[in-house]
Subunit: 409 residues, 2 copies
């Protein structure tokens, strides 16, 4: 997995839009009255052509019933729809929660005369409350009726909680047999009233790809992107990434070269969505990217990158525009990643600050000014091997505490 990903080729191109940028996908949103704000709070993604689908799910042992629902089904062919609501997580709701998730899937599937198991379900919001089924079920027909190829953004808005902006992106990728598209949207770093952070991501493609080929790509890409994203180190009960490919482009992905290129495009989308979550992290004033190279193993690269990304001390220092490399080195030290005492290197916003276990002199004022920008890159070379990983996060400000301490019921 490359540490950085910028488009440096002629087969991959960023395009406007989100989940409906892929051919054959429509989406919509509705106001079901789940969010107390009255904003749109339920969305639907639909493909008339059945999709290959795969997903990755939270590792939290306390899980929402929607996570169980999707994990049981995926990977699979024959998927048509994804329903997602915001405002209620349907987690810690026992048997009733399971029933409600199944009932939502059945109601959505009935709109296209499909089986309940062809609809995936996701949820985000308050924990430990039963789903307001009396509000949701009557709105499903409206949701289905509103489906549109322009609906991607509406879906992306409906799933927001304390997100301050909608997060979507799309690309076009040239494969050996033609052009196909990948589009996605995500929500995250948000809390709702004031219970639980949740990261959800939906990625569509009009490529034709078998579930057993799509599945490892999703797992691999998520491992290198969303699994290296942290806002506050808390793993939610509801996290999931769902990918659907409907084949509407007529382009089949099966050769080794095409699979590699498709994965690269998929990584591009996932990585871009990751960065959007990081820059919209609760209370964030800047986005932070930690690029680790020179690791003995990929696991070591991840350990080091994630330890720095999770350090409250590093993140409060960045909020304070403080070039505090000692905290970065400390986090590498306790990460468990192996490094070379002679070759270890740390750079902050392009300036070397630590080398071979010793400080490197730098202009503190100039560096502090660089840190005060909208994004900060921390480069770490462990000096041992050729493996790399990137972690994504944001700084840690007063507003993180405010959002999480003062949002009272």
């Amino acid at each position: 997995m490359p540490a950085k990903k910028t488009i440096k080729n002629n087969y991959l191109k960023s395009i406007p839009g989100g989940v409906t940028a892929s051919l054959g996908f429509t989406a919509s949103s509705v106001k079901a009255g789940i969010k107390s704000s009255g904003a749109a709070d339920a969305g639907l993604i639909y493909s008339n052509t059945p999709c290959s689908a795969a997903g990755t799910f939270t590792t939290n042992a306390v899980r929402a019933s929607s996570v169980d629902w999707c994990e049981k089904i995926l990977p699979a062919a024959g998927i048509h729809a994804v329903f997602c609501n915001a405002g209620n997580a349907n987690a810690c709701t026992g048997k009733q929660g399971e029933k409600d998730t199944a009932a939502i899937a059945a109601a959505v599937a009935s709109t296209y005369k499909g089986k309940p198991g062809s609809t995936l379900v996701a949820a985000t919001g308050v924990i430990g409350h039963f789903m307001p089924m009396d509000k949701i079920i009557p709105k499903i027909k409206e949701l289905s009726g509103a489906l549109s190829v322009k609906g991607g953004s509406k879906f992306a808005e409906a799933i927001m909680t304390t997100d301050t902006k909608k997060k979507e992106c799309a690309c076009e990728v040239v494969l050996s047999k033609g052009v196909c598209h990948i589009g996605g949207c995500t929500k995250g770093s948000g809390m709702i009233h004031p219970k639980m952070a949740t990261m959800l991501c939906f990625i569509t493609s009009d490529a034709s790809i078998a579930p057993e080929l799509l599945n490892p790509i999703v797992k691999h890409v998520v491992d290198g992107t969303f699994n290296n994203l942290t806002i506050d180190g808390d793993t939610s009960t509801n996290d999931m990434v769902l990918a659907l490919a409907n084949g509407a482009s007529g382009v089949t992905v099966s050769s080794k070269n095409d699979l590699a290129r498709f994965e690269e495009a998929f990584f591009f989308i996932a990585s871009a969505l990751c960065k959007k979550i990081a820059e919209d992290g609760e209370g964030a004033t800047k986005r932070v990217e930690i690029n680790v190279t020179g690791a003995s193993t990929y696991a070591d690269a991840k350990l080091a990158a994630k330890a720095v990304a999770n350090s409250n001390l590093v993140k409060t220092a960045l909020f304070g525009n403080d070039p505090n490399w000692g905290r970065i080195v400390c986090a590498i030290g306790y990460s468990g990643a192996r490094f070379s005492n002679e070759k270890i290197f740390v750079g902050l916003c392009g300036a070397p600050v630590f080398k071979a276990m010793r400080p490197v002199a730098f202009e503190a004022k100039a560096l502090s000014k660089k840190i005060s920008g909208k994004s900060v890159e921390i480069d770490i070379d462990l000096g041992l091997g050729s493996h790399s990983a990137t972690a994504h996060t944001c700084d840690f400000s007063y507003d993180y505490v405010k959002i999480n301490a003062e949002y009272h019921t």
Copy 2:
């Protein structure tokens, strides 16, 4: 290791004082000009009788030279002194740092005509700066001359950084052959100008106990106390707990019963010092204790307790006096600890809030009022076995961010 520790017997008694509450120990402090505030910043603990000594050390791979110095020596007999300075961590200072630590030990040992290896060294403060040896070495004679049986508090004050109060305690324990004492002091949850948090703890006893018996007691007790303490999840480069026993009470600890009682007393001191660190955590408005019972293994109990103690979401909610049990349950869920869906139980300040994967109704206002007090207890029963563990932490307030973001050079 018991989950809670209050004195419920007639052989263990809390007494005033700290490291010099144990017979035969003296201590002192001096102003060496390392702290920019001009406050006392170096301290010495001394015993004329040679001590058995043992220690536990940071697991951070980036370590101060003082940590390396002590770990190389301990466990050992024949120890006479502990020198500690605040204001400079002597970490990331390479070969020069090692030389400086050895020179300090030699200078201290020369005051009592001992070998350098009979002096232990500890340091806390800014990382990546060389020790101001020109300031420290000339002060060591003064430090030695000032040694006094009343000096324990002065030592405890000299090692403070952003600690708002000195932290010491002592006890008397009746063993089969007589009475002995254990006294300790600690510093922690502090940052200095604005580099690195460090936890240091020094425990003395006038019991006579062989190093090979003292060592496992120290490791075991630290594992059940300081290793379950977290303020911000960052493991420092300089952490250590040092224990010295000089035998001045004339009471030998060797029988199984006496060892158990001595360990209980040692646990009592370590646990009390732990709580003092938690309540003085950076920005803390309240102390938080997480008691986990019913775990299949001690490892599971620790996992669950520490995950909750480390959760920024739990800690910001407690700062906001919010009875947000969802965040507690979420942290248990991602901790990796096994639990019974049928028997899991969570209590907050004595009120049941979650049982068998379902919410328990409670009076939110009344519970919020309880949480607004000076200490909060979270009780978690995993419903599987008989193992337990306690984690110590504090809430997470605006002032944590302030202290760590705005303390500029």
